[in-house]
């Protein structure tokens, strides 16, 4: 789960969505804060103006006695939760609906609460000396305090849903575009692993840029496939065109052979020439077969192949040949039947190439084992020997067409055996691994 979240976070659309949400909320919050400040300020100014006006009204009184009476009278009508009046006469008497005594003059924010319900919350007070006494008018700031609640509510009912909607919309879009990007990614993977027919299926719902990338990828894959196809066509055309002349050479040599005794010098030379022609023919044969396997055409007639039987037959076919080279060949085949959908001849050719490689590249007295098993539901074929093996850095190269290790330059073989093996394995959707058998080589094929 965390891994999936981490992966989601790393994807560009998700980052963009989150960034946009963050930007949007910041701007909204700033706007809200600014209008709060402006509104609060104008409320405050209004209260101050009211206070100035109140004070000016009292200033109009002729003396302290009149102020005291005026305060007394007005405070009787006033609601103490809104306005509090206080006049302290020069003689120290207090008039009004609350006593506020201050050392300094001017505006103050005062709290009058102290257990009396009628004085509610915070007030803004203006204190001024008047006729030797001290006059203070205080007006409630409840309106301003209320403003905060109002703005908080605005924040809750407008910004939060917006953020949530934007966030989930962003995530949805991000996941959608991630899916589309994944489609392109999978196609590229398929192309890389050799499936040149892989294409991005662009659906109309895709974003324009992704559609463009998708069709560009398809264009590239198409060009690549056409080129590979052309190369394959050219090489199989060459192989084809050369087969008829080779056939003719073989025919002429055969003709000669019928009239030449085997044991003369000419006869021996002729036999060598015939052998060479057969070798050339087998290289062409292998090249054409690899081309056909790589083009995937044998897939059309795949059928169920009994691998147990195939392994046993091949071991039986090769056992005397191995014994003639003083090598021991045996197979380990499970009792349970293992079948695979495939081409029996190609699978047989594949195993035969592996067995022949093992026999060819190991010395007398070596042991070769053909093992069939099932690992995690998949058939596994292994050919192991205890010969010299292949150095680790050369293991990739031996799968290359016509590649031969320096050590095996002088043993027979055309360097195409393992290429065909790899082609057959790929055709059947399997994997091939060349491993160290310590000592020797272990070829593991997972179908």
């Amino acid at each position: 789960m965390t891994a999936r979240l981490a992966q989601l976070w790393r994807s560009m659309p998700v980052r963009l969505a989150l960034l946009l949400v963050l930007l949007f909320s910041t701007v909204s919050l700033m706007g809200l804060a600014a209008s709060y400040a402006v509104t609060q300020n104008s409320f405050e100014t209004a209260i101050r103006a009211d206070l100035e006006q109140d004070i000016a009204g009292f200033r109009a009184a002729p003396n302290a006695r009149a102020v005291a009476l005026l305060v007394d009278a007005e405070s009787r009508d006033a609601d103490p939760s809104r306005v509090v009046l206080s006049y302290i006469t020069p003689s120290g008497r207090i008039y009004g609906n609350g006593a506020i005594a201050r050392d300094d003059e001017g505006y103050h924010i005062v709290s009058l609460a102290e257990g009396r319900a009628e004085y509610d919350g915070v007030y803004l007070s203006l204190t001024t000396p008047l006729y030797g006494g001290q006059l203070t008018v205080a007006r409630s700031r409840a309106q301003i305090e209320g403003l905060r609640t109002v703005f908080l509510n605005i924040l809750l009912i407008s910004l939060l849903p917006t953020v949530l909607v934007a966030l989930s919309g962003g995530l949805y879009l991000a996941r959608r575009s991630k899916r589309h990007v994944d489609v392109i990614g999978r196609t590229l993977d398929d192309l890389t692993t050799g499936d040149l027919a892989a294409r991005v299926t662009v659906s109309p719902g895709w974003a324009d840029d992704l559609q463009r990338i998708g069709s560009k990828v398809n264009q590239m894959a198409g060009a690549q496939e056409a080129q590979t196809q052309m190369l394959r066509q050219v090489s199989s055309d060459i192989a084809h065109d050369l087969k008829t002349p080779i056939q003719r050479v073989a025919v002429h040599l055969d003709d000669l052979a019928r009239n030449l005794p085997e044991d003369t010098d000419e006869g021996i030379l002729l036999a060598k020439a015939q052998e060479e022609v057969a070798g050339i023919a087998s290289v062409f044969q292998s090249l054409l077969q690899i081309a056909s396997v790589e083009a995937g055409s044998p897939k059309t007639h795949f059928a169920s192949v009994d691998l147990n039987q195939l392994c046993e037959t091949l071991t039986e076919v090769y056992e005397p040949a191995a014994a003639a080279k003083q090598q021991r060949l045996h197979s380990v085949v499970p009792d349970a039947q293992i079948t695979v959908s495939g081409d029996k001849n190609l699978l047989g050719q594949m195993m035969s190439n592996l067995l022949e490689n093992a026999m060819r590249h190991t010395p007398e007295g070596s042991e070769i084992t053909l093992t069939l098993s099932r690992t995690q539901g998949r058939p596994v074929i292994e050919v192991a020997d205890n010969g010299p093996g292949i150095p680790e850095d050369a293991r990739d190269k031996v799968l290359r067409r016509l590649y031969r290790l320096d050590a095996s330059r002088h043993t027979p073989g055309n360097g195409l055996g393992l290429s065909l093996v790899e082609g057959v394995v790929k055709l059947h959707g399997g994997q091939i691994a060349l491993l160290d058998n310590a000592p020797g080589l272990l070829v593991r094929i997972t179908l």
Binding site: I246, A250, V251, H252, S292, T300, V317, D343
Partner: protein, 223 residues
């Protein structure tokens, strides 16, 4: 036997025709598909040897048309192709056997003979004989000059195959197909090693060799 060769490459066609004539067959050689089809439908041939790639009408179409018209003459396809695919499409079209160029003449000759004799291969025999060798098919006992020979199942099958086709050459690929059901070509000569094991049991202890090697072709048991 009367044979028809449909092959557009003159060198190969002449060579096949001459070789088969030397073996005592009557051979008609035709270089293109349309003429081949006309010849095949008119003449009574024992085996048709048809190249896959021909001008006018290609080999596959030729054989399909023949089969469609109810002509069941055995057909041996020749081809420069030779992938498994081609082999299968050839056999599906109604071909009976398949030979990939370049081939040795011995292989061609052996396969043509095998095709012509196909129907008789189903004979219900219980004992096969060659010289002083006797094979009991029911009890699966093999004796030579009254001496019992112990054979492994596959050695028995190999000997049986050669005995049933007494006097006819069986090539290595034919033996691989018949005895082991393998129709790909191993590079190593595995058949030779099996034959030499069989010889060690069947021929070595006795003074006359029954299993003959035919140079450039394969093996044969003489009567």
């Amino acid at each position: 036997m009367k044979l028809l060769v449909v092959e557009d490459d003159a060198t190969t066609g002449t060579y096949i025709a001459r070789g088969l004539r030397e073996e005592g067959h009557t051979v008609d050689l035709v270089a293109e598909g349309r003429e081949g089809l006309i010849q095949a439908t008119s003449g009574a041939y024992d085996v048709l040897i048809v190249d896959r790639m021909l001008p006018e009408i290609d080999g596959l179409t030729l054989v399909k048309t023949l089969r469609g018209a109810g002509n069941l003459t055995p057909v041996l396809f020749l081809t420069a192709m030779g992938s498994v695919d081609d082999r299968i499409s050839g056999l599906n079209a109604g071909g009976d056997d398949y030979l990939v160029k370049p081939f040795a003449f011995g292989e061609l000759s052996a396969r043509v003979t095998a095709l012509a004799r196909r129907p008789q291969a189903m004979e219900q025999e219980t004992v096969l004989r060659a010289g002083d060798l006797e094979m009991q098919l029911i009890t699966r006992k093999v004796t030579r000059a009254g001496q019992e020979i112990d054979l492994l199942p596959r050695e028995f099958a190999l000997l049986e195959h050669l005995l049933r086709r007494k006097g006819r050459v069986q090539t290595r690929t034919m033996l691989l197909e018949a005895v082991w059901d393998i129709s790909f070509d191993p590079m190593t000569n595995v058949v030779e090693t099996h034959i030499s094991r069989l010889r060690a049991k069947v021929d070595k202890p006795f003074d006359r060799e029954l299993i003959q090697t035919v140079r450039g072709a394969g093996y044969r048991i003489d009567g």
